[in-house]
Amino acid sequence: MIDSGDTAFIMLSAAMVLLMTPALALFYAGMVRSKNVLGTILQSFVMIAVITFEWIYIGYTMSFGPDVNGLIGDLSMFALNGVGTAPSPTYATTIPQLVFMIYQCMFAVITPALITGAFAERVRFGPFILFSLLWTIVVYNPVCHWIWGGGWLADRGVLDFAGGLVVHLTSGAAAAAAVIVLGPRKGLGRDKFMPHNLPMTLLGTGLLWFGWFGFNGGSALAADGIAATAFVNTHVAGMAGLAMWVALEWVLYKQPTTLGAASGAIAGLATVTPAAGFISPHAAVVIGLLAGSACFAAVTYKNKVGFDDSLDVVGIHGLGGVIGTICLGIFASKAINPGGADGLLAGNASFLTTQVFGVVVVGVYAFVVSFVLLKIIDIICGGMRVSPEDETVGLDQAAHSENAYNM
């Protein structure tokens, strides 16, 4: 039975999540050097084409098709076969299945785009496209099925409201593998990798925050009280992450920074994602504060050890996904969402164990498969990296024959 309110809300949410991909492009592009702006933007933007193609033909059916042994969806909905204006009997039963399909498509699009921050300023465009496409097929679709498509992790009771595991941990683990396979940018430790345009990054942050209401709120898949809970928790966690990161900088470096405010907000938003519809706003505040401090520490540590995760995909999204998923095991409450679970604070320690299990499985799977995939592409494509000469010239000129700023 189609509900017009639910349908309108999820269609709007889908549009908001789509917006997050170009928003991410701006968020990332402001942090690179001016010679790599367009290359960085395009890496996110082109995912809209590559992954939407993949999604409507095989991605949707692999993720949400009828289950095969808990591992993957079968191919009976290949090319949207049977996906029409009638609701799915299984998922989001009050909206047309087409709406559910396109809403989920936007999540699949942004996830590989998140990874691009790890190998910013040095990846070859062709091998990158091939990696993103294959990665979505062998990492995103299976993990999405395990947790949201009625797969084996869902059967075990692992919960992920809007993508702490499916989106943030998969991309964060892939990012860690990518940094190891591709190596650091040329001149790390000698050259200055200063952000070329922080207002661009802040514009991206604002648009991401806006889109996140659709990302988390829409994950209720209905315009109901759970959506309201997720909506509010999203905002307060972003707020708390922002406040915490800026406060830490103020104390430790004597000056708060704009990039710190943006980073803290994204850390809070990413971290609350798996928990958004299952916890109280006060738990969301705690999660945001924890995200702001833990991600701040991780990024600072990264700078000390020379691990060139250039735009901090591991330290913000990967770690955020881990912390948020585990915090859900602590703060979840059936009083908030009867369809969820009770966590440690409600006296159910076993749910926390379940969540930790989910983190380990998804983290290890995504890391190992990403690493192998990157190595294979590195060999068959003659290198994932651009040549040292092209890296010096910059991706905009070398790979795209464009300049961002013709002034």
């Binding site: 990798f193 900088e249 710190g260 990024v299």
Partner: protein
């Protein structure tokens, strides 16, 4: 004739320009420059990564004057641009062989 090149702090530019106008200097050329001397660079922090930025923004004034006017111009710039803190700048005085006004072809002091 002399060319006076003065590298000064950007926020002192208006004071220096006004002071030079007061003593009858009616033209100058301004360039944005970056550099460092005894005043070393400053620190910038991005997500905890600290960078020392060596080159500090300054402005460079170029003024051509009759030789006998040079000392007065130099004194004026010093008094207007000085803050007493490190990084106030430098002034260079160079000999100039000739000046030609493009529009009329005039040369020498009359072309300044």
């Amino acid at each position: 004739m002399k060319k006076i090149e003065a590298i000064i702090k950007p926020f002192k530019l208006d004071d220096v320009k006004d002071a030079l106008n007061q003593i009858g200097i009616t033209g100058m050329t301004l360039t944005d420059v970056k550099g460092y001397g005894r005043q070393k660079g400053h620190r910038e922090i991005y997500r905890g990564a600290e960078y020392m930025v060596d080159f500090i923004p300054k402005v460079k004034l170029g003024i051509i004057v009759p030789a006998e006017k040079a000392d007065e111009v130099v004194e004026t710039i010093i008094s207007a641009a000085r803050t007493g803190k490190i990084g106030d700048g430098k002034i260079f005085v160079l000999p100039v062989d000739d000046v030609i006004r493009v529009r009329t072809g005039e040369t020498g002091n009359g072309a300044i």
